[in-house]
Each structure stands twice: as structure tokens, then as C-alpha cells.
């Protein structure tokens, strides 16, 4: 089981949760985790990834405190006990 932490702006798309426990069938990746979350909470996936499955430019994902942009992106491994954070990057309107 991995834990996905969501920003307040996305909690509405996860039934009000800021923290979602995600069951992974085995060793997985950030992409697989987001796909799994998207099964129950498609609005979360839509706002983190675009139609091509790419991470939106102003969204950052951290695995155990490390930005996946400096790891292997969406292919960054995620396993049981890992903590994954979705955080809005420095941007705004």
C-alpha cells in the first residue's frame, strides 16, 4: 500500500480526502499509482496528467521527498509504504 497526498485543490475530486491509500499489485511506478487512483478518482488523474499521460507542466510529484523530475519521471518506482505527494508548482493566476 502506498500513500498519495493531495493538495487541497484536488481533494474535491477524491471525495474530500487529502490522503489516499493506494493498493498496488506489486512493485509499481508513479504512472501506475496515478492510473490506479484514476480508477476511483478520475478527476485526480485528469488534473495531474494530460490526455497523453504526461505530467502537467506546473504539477510536481514527490516520492519520499524527492521530485520525480530528478528521478525517472513517471517511471519512478513506487512500492509498499512509499509516500507520494502531488504539489502545485510555483505558478498561479
Amino acid at each position: 500500500m502506498a500513500t498519495l497526498h493531495l493538495p487541497a485543490a484536488l481533494s474535491a475530486y477524491a471525495g474530500g480526502q487529502r490522503r489516499v491509500e493506494v493498493a498496488l499489485p506489486g512493485p509499481g511506478t508513479v504512472a501506475a499509482l496515478l492510473e490506479a487512483v484514476g480508477q476511483d478518482h478520475p478527476g485526480v488523474r485528469q488534473r495531474v496528467l494530460d490526455e497523453l499521460g504526461a505530467l502537467r507542466p506546473h504539477v510536481n510529484v514527490f516520492v519520499n521527498g524527492e521530485s520525480i523530475r530528478y528521478l525517472t519521471g513517471l517511471a519512478t518506482p513506487v512500492g509498499d509504504g512509499d509516500e507520494v505527494w502531488v504539489i502545485a508548482a510555483i505558478s498561479g493566476g
Partner: protein, 362 residues
Amino acid sequence: MSILLMVGTTKGAFLFQGGVDRQEFEPTGPHFPGEAIYALAFDGRAGRRRVLAGTESSHWGSVVRCSDDLGRTWSDPAEGNVRFPDGTGAALTRVWQLQPAGDERPDTVYAGVEPAALFRSDDAGETFELVRGLWDHPHRSQWQPGGGGLCLHTVVPDWADPDRIWVAVSSGGVYRSDDGGASWQARNRGVRVEFMPDPHPEFGQCVHKVAQAAGRRDTLYMQNHGGLYRSDDGAESWADIANGVPSDFGFAMVAHPADPDTAYAVPLESAMFRCVPDARACVYRTKDGGASWEPLGKGLPQRDAYLTVLRDGFATDGMRPAGLYFGTRTGEVFASADEGEGWRLVAGWLPPVLCVKAAVLS
């Protein structure tokens, strides 16, 4: 009856309501604070009172949202409702235009988007599907982005024929379909470009806005990236009508809601300095199909005004006399209740205005 004035800005949407005398307007908003609103539309067909908004979060992407209570509540489609299908290799950047079809297709709404593509909704804006006929056009791979990106920013459904649609792409030019979107032909003959070796290519023009005349279905007006044009044959050919304007550069173009010979433009100094000429704000009106244009500046700032009006920043409410409204990148919204003869400030300190639309509420 009342007037609904819809203003999209870089930081949200503002909805104003006022009387049909068009003197005072009360705002609500910002709706979607912090999000860029490039597209707004009102759908009053089939008994609806629906406002549609193309919203763009710098973080979370773009969707089309609907309100059936004039902005008190909005839909928020969780999964996104304008999505490029698998295999296209494209992802939505922005919704540039929302355009309800005519009364014969009361549930159809078109969306022009970036990257340049046309989407169609047949459930009044709840969900959209890519119009494949245009996406698969052999020209598409040669379209080039303008300063605003490669976008389909204008959709003009023919009021006389539900199967005829014009679209404009920057920079691809005008395309017309006569079969409901199944096939498309470039319609740019006579429209020049300044940024290619051939000044009259079949396509590739940076068309900024196209408007269809009322009551004369084959007459269209165009503000090009350099050039004002009119077509009298449904865009088969275009003739230069930049007669007496201080500049033929600009973005916006509005056709009068009843008189096919009357149209309005807001010339800007040049492509390299996109502000009103001589720092004097004027709307230009032709009443003779472009043979001549007259400046309309009463009530508008006539000195030290560095205003810019974008392609969807100018609209009419469709009434007689025509109400006209425009917004600026410096956050002003001006209104005229008398076909442009005089103007008054509706709002003065909004975020940069991206689009202005108006409708009559019955």
C-alpha cells in the same frame, strides 16, 4: 428583459447584468478566480439560460464548465470534457472559443481549441468530441503557431445552413465545411500574408477574427494580421476593405446584428506595437461594407491611452439599436448603447480582458 455581459479575464470571469437601457451593470465574480477564461458563451436555445466557460488553470488544465443559474453554480466535469482521443498525439492546452450552433441544432456547441482543432458537443456543452474531418486535413501539419499559440479561435456557424461552418486558425487561415464538419476547404483567396515568401498562399494566413453579416449569409468580415477584408461569396474570395482606417492591424471584428453593411473593428497601431493608434481609443465603424470607416471615440479616452483589444474582446448584444461592448488588456470594459456613437466605462480595474460576450435575457 435584461442584458448579460460576460467578461473573461486572465484571472477569472465576471458576469454583469444590466437593464436594456444598457446604462448600469452589476457585476458578479470573479468566477474561477486565478484561472484564465479565454472563452465564454451564452446558450439561450431550447429554453436554456446556460453560460458556458472555457476555464484554464495554470496547474490543473482546461475544461468547459456550464452554469444554468447565471453563475451561482457551475459544473466541474471531473474527467475533463474536451479531450483529444487516443492516437492523436495531442493534449488540450486551452479552449479559445465556445460557439452554440444555430436554432436548427439546439443542442450543438462548438469549441475551438489549442492545439488547433474543432470539437463538437451535442449535449449543449456537457461533453465534446473531436471533429475528425478537420483534424485529419492534410494542411494541418503545415499550420504554424502565431504569438498566441497554434489555435482555432473562431467558429462561425452559418445562420442560414446548419451544415455550413467557417473556422479560423492562427496561423492556418479560414476553412469552411459545407457538410457539417465532415470535410473542409481552405478559403483564403485574396488574403495576404506578410510572413511568407508567397503573399497569397492557399492557407497559412494569420486570420484574427471573422464575423458573418446579418441577413446576407455569404457576406463575411475579417480582421487579418494585417488587412481588413470582406467576402461576398461565403469566403470563396476576399477583398481588401481597409479604406480610411489608421491601421489595418487589429484583432477584433464585429458584424452589426441587423445591417449587413455595418461592421466594427478596433485598429491597433501595428503588429509590433499592439495599442490603439496615437494612444487614442476609437472603435471604427463602416456602414457601407468597408468602402469607408469612421472613428467612434466619444466617451473613450482620447489621450495617453495604451489600450489593446483582443480577438474576442469585442461583442454586440444583438439588440436594436445595437449594444456594443469591448474589454482591454488593461482591464477596462466599455459599453455603447447606441451602435457605437457614445461609450461609457462599465468596469475599470479588472484583470486583463481576454473575451467579452453579451446576450439578451428574456
